[in-house]
């Protein structure tokens, strides 16, 4: 499918943190939110989301609680903890630095050297 990007290793966690930082979500909701904010460009295998979610919960970056979805299904909702918010900020900065560096590196022209 054109317009789809391969996920870089480690970026799924950052995407999840971003998605959840916009408001508590259940697992399926996280997938939808990532699709929405990435312009449907990033493809994640649905089941692969859960190991990543649990890992973040275990690291204390997310907390989970059972609730009810919009269409009245029982679902587990995730939200950021304080540590999660901090980590999200750091990772975002790190990513931006990397992205800037990569962009400038790849944009370099022969005459600039």
């Amino acid at each position: 499918m054109p317009g789809e990007a391969q996920l870089l290793p480690g970026t799924l966690d950052l995407l999840i943190l971003k998605a959840v930082s916009l408001g508590p979500l259940h697992g399926y909701g996280v997938l939808l939110r990532i699709g929405q904010i990435s312009g449907e460009a990033l493809l994640i295998e649905q089941g692969a989301l859960y190991p990543a979610l649990f890992r973040l919960v275990r690291q204390g970056l997310l907390k989970a609680s059972w609730g009810t979805s919009d269409n009245n299904r029982r679902a587990k909702f995730y939200e950021l903890t304080a540590a999660g918010r901090r980590r999200f900020r750091e990772e975002t900065e790190g990513w931006n630095r990397l992205a800037r560096a990569m962009t400038s590196a790849l944009a370099a022209e022969p005459e600039e050297i």
Partner: protein
């Protein structure tokens, strides 16, 4: 506390496993439902929506597993699964389980016992405060710091010790009521307990302040053990007056319970001030600078920041000063400082336990090699199972982990059993009293260290033999194995298993060789020529000081005792020797003798340093020592007669060139006395069985009296009857004289002790080595027969002879046996050189030993390959080929 919390969280995870799993399932289901709802909204039928949702979700089980793992409970859970699975697998092969556990029990047990002994005798310090900085002088043969005046000089002139205490052993008649009993104690300097930083359990200790000249401090302090066993914990004992060798002493205190004196092996009954030693020794040693009997060991805490080397140099400079000031009396060349309590045994004990530890380590290594081989064989047999698990998606790591868990489970069970056995054995050893009359104290009670050690050994060995099949598993190609069956390939090349078995056989051959060398040496030393004949001789140990004799009463009483025992029917001859007969209690007196022409009697001018004895007429006859030339002593060789001596052949040869040439010649004693040689006797052993031939001389006991003596009674009568008769006669002379009567051979036990213990230990190790090689060869042979059943069947069907079948089936095992044994024999013979220092007569160049090892290893091979050989020969090719 942290550990506890961790454990609780793990336990909580384990028990709430089902809840977490249920929640996980629920969450994943809810995801699929939510997706399904969305798909339904987009117009799909409910069944189609659910199907699509499931497909989009991906590999449900895989994600569930991974999620579970991410939750953190997974490791413990799979670990427990693996343990359960391992237990099931092991239960299915009980024969293998029993063999492996038994092997490890023996190997780890042996290691734990040896470690316990090493810990107790070498590593553990004296049970006193700050024992790590306690150092003392080593007991030597020369009068150095063995005399009280020299000790005083060392104490006052050194700059390395905070304070220096000293002690010597005393053997006394202790009278707490009616009759005296033999009792062993320490005569110590007044500062002894202060230097040790001990506090009394009851009453008080004597101190330097109590020392006000000879015989000024008639006090005694009991050891807790003696107080407990002889005074039944009676607290009113303080202040009670008892008699030591008929002199009154006041009990002033009881030492703390864990304190057994400052010698490792001998636990005293009491402590008394050394200033009173004359009352129990019969002679005053406080002024005898040239004596070797005054002090056993001087010790103290090193000052802070003083190293052992500095202290040794310091002590040696004091020694040099003393040698210059008292050239006649001070003979020690250099002082060695050692750990207090071990000073005089340090080297031998250390070497021996280190050697034992090494052998025990070899046993464990051999056991690991053995089990490693078994595990590799099992892994090969289970290759189909492994292949299936790999094909079904199990990871290699998981399979390896499970194999390792199997190995560690076995090693822990084996280790626990070995530890239990060793604890029982060590308790026995620490209670062991091999010598009557000498309170042996072996502080080898097991402590926490040994549990840790055994556990570590078990884990290490588990991993050692567990990793042997790792390569095999990692290389396994599931398709190949599932397709071709487990007996796929039979390489001709050398495998890990072959190397392991060869190694193991070599180790076992080393153990068998050394134990044979030791046993042979001991047998030889038991039947060797000691220069006397201990059979049919009873020894009567007595100390007339214990019954209050002194001066001229002593030889007179000794003469009466000899005469009285001579009247017992069946007694062939009776002799007397002052102090100790040869090889008894490894105690002997060495003197310096000088040529007649030497004027300056300083140590460096001495002609020889022979053993000295004072004996009665008839002694040589009673001892069975052959007179080579000249005459025996007579009752006329008394203190009014000219001084005479009998010397051994070595003495005569060393100083006068030949036995006959020595007769009638003179030599000088340290005090300048000229002594004429009137007889020459055969050579013998005096202090220990392993000593080089030493010179010795004998003086008539009437010319060199001593309160302590042994009577030698040669008779063919039954020892028990004879003992009763001797006791009867002696109590007729003096009922208050404590004596100890036993056969000379029993007294020799002490001198034989190291050799016996060494032989016993090596014998056990050799036996274990032999058992290990049997199981190892058996395992290998049985495995190779079972792997090659089909091939053997075809060979038999094609008409192979029995020998050819056997050669095919067992050839490799036998070849390994031969190579391993040869290597082991060579190594064992090299190792046996070390043994020669402990076991008298242990020589590796002994055709008996060489032959014995070859025969033993061949027998082992025969025993071990018997069953597999039978199996190979009884094959029915028809049945076999049909089955495969």
């Amino acid at each position: 506390m942290r550990l506890l919390a961790w454990f609780r969280s793990v336990a909580a995870k384990f028990f709430s496993r089902s809840r977490a799993a249920v929640e996980l399932e629920e969450e994943l289901r809810s995801h699929i439902q939510l997706r399904g709802d969305d798909l339904q909204r987009s117009g799909l039928s409910s069944a189609e929506a659910e199907r699509r949702a499931r497909i989009e979700f991906g590999a449900y089980q895989k994600h569930k597993e991974e999620s579970h793992e991410a939750l953190g409970g997974n490791f413990i859970e799979t670990f427990i699964q693996d343990v359960r699975y391992s237990l099931r697998v092991l239960r299915k092969s009980p024969g293998f389980l029993v063999a492996a556990v038994a092997t490890l029990t023996l190997a780890i047990g042996a290691n734990a016992v040896v470690f316990g002994i090493m810990d107790g005798l070498v590593l553990r310090l004296l049970n006193v405060p700050q024992a790590e900085s306690l150092y003392g002088t080593e007991y030597g043969a020369d009068p150095g710091f063995q005399s009280y005046p020299n000790y005083l000089d060392l104490r006052d002139r050194n700059h390395s010790f905070e304070d220096l205490a000293a002690f010597k052993m005393v053997f006394t008649g202790l009278n707490t009521g009616s009759n005296p009993v033999s009792s062993a104690g320490y005569a110590t300097t007044g500062n002894y307990f202060d230097v040790l930083r001990l506090h009394p359990y009851l009453g008080r200790f004597f101190t330097s302040a109590d020392e006000r000249g000879p015989n000024s401090a008639p006090f005694m302090v009991l050891t807790w053990a003696f107080w407990h066993s002889h005074f039944q914990d009676d607290r009113t004992v303080i202040g009670r007056i008892v008699e030591l060798d008929k002199h009154p002493f006041t009990i002033i205190g009881v030492a703390p319970p864990g304190f057994h004196g400052t010698l490792l092996f001998v636990s005293p009954d009491f402590f008394m001030p050394i200033v009173n030693q004359q009352q129990v020794d019969g002679e005053n040693l406080l002024d005898a600078r040239g004596s070797t009997q005054g002090i056993f060991e001087a010790f103290g805490h090193l000052k802070p920041r003083v190293t052992l080397a500095q202290a040794t140099a310091d002590a040696n400079s004091v020694g040099a000063y003393l040698a210059k000031t008292h050239p006649k009396e001070f003979g020690q060349k250099s002082v060695l400082l050692g750990r207090t309590g071990l000073a005089s045994f340090d080297g031998n004990v250390r070497e021996f336990t280190a050697a034992l530890m090494l052998l025990a380590g070899l046993i464990l290594l051999a056991a690991c090699a053995n089990l490693g081989g078994l595990f590799a064989a099992r892994a090969a047999e289970r290759s189909r199972e492994v292949a299936l698990r790999l094909a079904l998606g199990s990871s290699r790591a998981r399979i390896l982990r499970q194999l390792l868990i199997e190995a560690v489970l076995i090693s822990i069970v084996g280790g626990a059993a070995g530890l239990a056995g060793s604890v029982v054995l060590l308790r026995q050893i620490s209670l062991w009293q091999p010598f009557p009359g000498a309170a042996l104290h072996l502080p080898v009670e097991p402590d926490a260290k040994i549990y840790v050690f055994a556990l570590a050994m078990a884990l290490v060995s588990g991993f050692l033999f567990g990793i042997v099949p790792v390569r095999q598993v990692l290389r396994a190609d599931p398709w190949e194995i599932v397709k071709a069956g487990s007996s796929a390939r039979l390489g001709r090349r050398v495998t890990v298993r072959d190397v392991l078995l060869g190694l193991q056989i070599a180790i076992c051959a080393v153990l068998v060789t050394s134990s044979m060398v030791a046993v042979r040496g001991l047998l030889r030393s038991l039947h060797g020529n000691f220069g006397f004949e201990p059979r049919n001789v009873m020894l009567v140990s007595n100390n007339l000081a214990m019954a209050g004799y002194s001066g001229d009463q002593v030889p007179a009483m000794q003469k009466r005792m000899i005469a009285a025992i001579e009247t017992i029917p069946g007694v062939a001859s009776v002799g007397l020797v002052n102090n100790y007969p040869p090889l008894v209690y490894t105690a002997a007196f060495r003197a310096r003798v000088f040529r007649e022409t030497t004027a300056d009697l300083k140590p460096s001018n001495a002609a020889a340093n022979p053993f000295g004895y004072a004996v009665s007429p008839q002694y040589f006859q009673a001892a069975g020592t052959g007179l080579l030339a000249g005459r025996d002593f007579t009752w006329d060789d008394n203190k009014d007669a000219p001084r005479v001596a009998v010397v051994n052949r070595e003495f005569a040869g060393a100083i006068f060139g030949s036995p006959s040439g020595a007769l009638g010649r003179y030599f000088k004693l340290q005090d300048g006395t000229r002594v004429q040689i009137v007889g020459v006797v055969e050579n013998g052993k005096y202090l220990s069985l392993t000593e080089d031939q030493a010179p010795a001389f004998f003086l008539p006991f009437l010319q060199a009296p001593a309160v302590q003596s042994f009577l030698l009674v040669r008779s063919n009568r039954d020892p028990q009857q004879l003992t009763a008769a001797i006791r009867n006669k002696l109590s007729g002379l003096d009922a208050g004289l404590p004596t100890q009567i036993d056969t000379w051979n029993n007294f020799l036990d002490v001198v034989m002790f190291p050799a016996r213990v060494a032989t016993m230990a090596l014998g056990v190790m050799g036996l274990m080595g032999a058992m290990l090689s049997i199981t190892g060869i058996f395992g290998m042979a049985a495995y190779s027969v079972s792997k090659r059943l089909r091939e053997l069947g075809i060979r038999i069907a094609l008409g192979a002879q029995r020998t050819e079948v056997l050669g095919t089936a067992l050839g490799r095992a036998l070849k390994l046996l031969a190579i391993g044994s040869a290597a082991g024999l060579v190594l064992g013979l090299l190792a046996a050189r070390v043994l020669a220092s402990i076991v008298y007569g242990a020589t590796p160049r002994d055709p008996f030993v060489m032959g014995g090892v070859v025969v033993a290893m061949s027998l082992l091979g025969l025993v071990a390959t018997w069953i597999p050989a039978q199996r190979a020969l009884s094959l029915d090719p028809l049945i076999l080929l049909r089955e495969e």
